[in-house]
């Protein structure tokens, strides 16, 4: 593997296992504290109602904690961390319904170098990544790159509405599109915590690296999403169980009824399995293991399915109160449903999973 092909956390041998268990826990706790303070439900709803769907002040603070640049090398002003730390932080983002552009940023960190990587890590440059060709999970993007120019539409691009720079990630290379060469149409998304945009591209592009780094960037994006889903699934289960303990009907807590208790037990299995799958994928990716494709595919559908089920049943277990807009349960259900489509649905990833198994057997 050449230097350029390596993932950032591998560029330096000492970076592969940078954090001890205690340091990771400390990182997670500091992110958790900041989000509890600045990304509480009222903040989430405020950002949902905003035009951009983005809280730039909070994003700068997260950058200050080293989160935006976690996958950027220390040489470029980043934290030089790896997939294991990314996944852990994403669990917190998912639990808090954060709309921070972390998935896009993690993917971009895999593709950028130098000054742009520095600006990314500082939270000053927001970069959206549009996978093209074989990587286009929407099947609806039609951007053509030729002769130093790009033209066409990249569809359903996360954080496209706030992007300062777009990276077109195709098999034949990665191209940077500056702000004046694209216009973004913010989409009327069902999940207002995760904004998507169609990017209309028409202008010059700059080739920044070859296509060999794209797979790594997509893997990181998928992993980040899986972490978000695992964290969200656990959180929705947590507040649902809290409610089942307190809510009384027929003279007793509804959680004492087996109809509710058994649903909760089944959801715990789903949420814990999702967490195991996401963390395993992170470890496989960090270790560059032979079966990382299988581990990622497994995490992709296991986490998506678990989150949808936990959020759906969570609403059901609450009863009427969760049918109201004021109750947060539907925010999780919306987020679960959007994550279950982003980067390909569970059917797609189950198929990729069995392909990885076939390749091994």
């Amino acid at each position: 593997m050449t230097r350029a092909q390596r993932r950032p956390w591998e560029r330096d041998a000492c970076m592969t296992q940078v954090m001890t268990h205690e340091e990771r826990t400390a990182l997670r706790d500091s992110v958790r504290r900041l989000l509890a303070d600045r990304c509480a439900e009222t903040d989430v709803r405020r950002v949902m109602a905003s035009d951009t769907g983005h809280d730039d002040a909070l994003w700068r603070e997260l950058a200050g904690l080293g989160v935006a640049g976690m996958l950027v090398s220390e040489d470029n002003g980043g934290s030089g961390l790896g997939p294991v730390e990314l996944e852990l932080v994403m669990e917190e983002f998912g639990a808090a319904l954060s709309s921070a552009p972390m998935i896009s940023t993690a993917m971009a960190a895999m593709l950028l170098d130098g000054a742009r990587a520095q600006a990314l890590a500082a939270g000053e440059l927001i970069v959206a990544v549009a996978p093209l060709g074989v990587h286009d999970w929407t099947g609806q993007s039609d951007v053509r790159v030729a002769g130093g120019r790009a033209e066409g539409v990249a569809r359903f691009v996360p954080d496209g509405q706030i992007a300062d720079l777009v990276l077109l990630a195709g098999d034949d290379g990665v191209y940077a599109v500056a702000r004046d060469a694209f216009s973004a149409t913010s989409l009327p998304v069902f999940d207002r915590t995760r904004r998507l945009a169609d990017l209309h591209i028409d202008g010059p592009v700059e080739r920044i690296c070859d296509g060999s780094r794209v797979a790594g960037a997509l893997a990181v994006g998928l992993l980040a999403l899986a972490g978000d889903q695992a964290g969200g699934a656990r959180r929705v289960l947590e507040f649902t169980v809290d409610y089942a303990r307190e809510r009384r009907q027929f003279g007793r807590a509804i959680g004492s009824f087996q109809a509710i208790k058994h649903m909760a037990a089944d959801l715990l299995l789903e949420a814990e399995s999702a967490t195991s799958a996401a963390r395993n994928a992170a470890e496989q990716l960090a270790g560059d293991a032979a079966d990382r494709d299988g581990a990622l595919a497994l995490a992709a559908f296991a986490c998506a399915d678990a989150y949808v089920r936990c959020a759906k049943d969570g609403v059901q277990m609450h009863g009427g109160i969760a049918f109201t807009w004021e109750h947060p349960a539907h925010l999780y259900l919306r987020r679960a449903r959007s994550g279950a489509q982003l980067f390909g649905d569970s059917r797609h990833w189950r198929e990729r999973f069995i392909q990885a198994l076939e390749a091994q057997s």
């Binding site: 959680g255 299995l269 497994l298 069995i354 198994l357």
Partner: protein, 396 residues
């Protein structure tokens, strides 16, 4: 003693004594390796964590694990019984002094066969509702009742029995725990034919059988507490072993096997089949990832709620794998017998899946346990909890 000295001593002892022993094939009944096990016991290696007066060496857990690894390396059985021997651990913790002196050495050497006399036709999930009675007589107790799901009863010398000794108190408080001699008139063991057409279990009919005074474990009426420690040992032993109790010939389940069956059946190109196969294999992998994470979390000192999920997860895996295997085979699954091993496997799995989803606590009871002990949800009100058991019986 340093770790190195201990390791040297065990290695030297094994080199001087271990010449191989016959394999054990039955989990219950007298152990064919008894001669070797007695040697291990007398040398103090059978239960090294136990005190010297009970055949142990008073070693720390860490040092006992050194002994275990030396034995494992030599492929010699017999050590680690302070963790794994359900019968000996229960006896040591709760038996009377007299009985302990007699039974513990025999149990460590596998010289006596044992069985469990817990469940009854009328007391499955609600085990505390047992109706087998033990009435006090001169020198001991007289027992009458019926037990079920007893493995190895036909070759057992003793059964660990729970029986009701007081009917005037609520169900949990009137139960006592005994080592009942099995080889006597009044104990009738009949094999129980399972839905898989195997007979791994027995029914035990007890009619005025006798239990000597000293065979009571724990206090009179304190049997439910003794049972909890015995069940804890049993679960930890079961946790170490593979789940699902399959016969040797029927062990070919796993990731590659299901994929291979789909390929053989010519259905691996069917996109729906691929989804089903992927999902079952995924559940299996998720379960082992959960187990791995639980172990890692325990090591880091964080308590883990994941361990309690394995049995529930395995129920779904086995039932679904049975379904998928059956669908893969199509009409072939209508057949059975040695000429149709694939059908035999699919059908066996489909039926034996209940061994996991019913045995050792049904999935529904398991969900109650997870809900109450892990998620801290309140218990279901129990109408018979504070009622004298005689009144409960009368009301039914």
């Amino acid at each position: 003693m340093t770790d190195e000295e201990l390791k040297a001593e065990v290695t030297a002892w094994l080199a001087a004594n271990w010449r191989g022993a016959p394999q054990r094939t039955e989990r219950f009944g007298p152990d064919p390796r008894a001669e070797w096990l007695a040697k291990v016991r007398d040398a103090g290696w059978a239960a090294p964590r136990w005190p010297k007066e009970w055949y142990g060496r008073g070693l720390s857990d860490a040092q006992a694990r050194i002994v275990e690894s030396c034995f494992a390396e030599a492929k010699a059985p017999g050590t680690g019984q302070d963790r794994s021997n359900l019968w000996a651990n229960t006896a040591l913790a709760h038996a009377t002094e007299t009985f302990k002196r007699q039974i513990v050495p025999q149990l460590l050497a596998g010289e006596v066969g044992m069985c469990l006399l817990y469940s009854e036709p009328g007391a499955g999930s609600d085990l505390a509702a047992i109706r087998t009675r033990a009435d006090k007589v001169e020198g001991g107790w007289r027992v009458t009742g019926q037990k079920v799901w007893t493995s190895g009863a036909h070759i057992a010398d003793y059964g660990m029995l729970i029986a009701r000794t007081d009917w005037s108190v609520p169900k949990h408080r009137g139960i006592s725990f005994f080592f009942m001699p099995m080889r006597q008139k009044g104990v009738d063991v009949r094999p129980l034919r399972q839905i898989t057409d195997e007979t791994h279990f027995n029914e035990v009919f007890i009619d005025d059988a006798f239990i000597p005074e000293e065979n009571l474990l724990g206090n009179l009426g304190g049997g439910w507490g003794v049972l909890q420690t015995a069940l804890a040992y049993e679960r930890s032993v079961m946790g170490d072993a593979a789940r699902g109790a399959r016969s040797g010939a029927k062990e070919a389940h796993g990731d590659a096997a299901l994929l291979e069956l789909a390929r053989e059946a010519g259905k691996l190109s069917d996109p729906l089949v691929r989804q089903d196969v992927a999902q079952v294999i995924a559940w299996r992998m998720l379960n082992s990832l959960n187990t791995r994470r639980a172990k890692a979390e325990l090591k880091q000192g964080t308590s883990s709620s994941i361990m309690s999920l394995g049995k529930l997860a395995m129920s779904r895996i086995l039932h679904e794998e049975g379904r998928v295997r059956t669908e893969l085979l199509g009409p072939e699954s209508l057949l059975q017998g040695p000429d149709h091993p694939r059908a035999e496997d699919a059908n066996f799995l489909s039926l034996n899946a209940y061994f996991t989803s019913i045995g050792g606590g049904t999935d529904q009871i398991q969900r109650n346990i997870i809900g109450e002990r892990v998620l801290d949800l309140p218990r279901e009100p129990e109408v018979d909890r504070d009622v004298a058991f005689s009144a409960v019986v009368a009301g039914r």
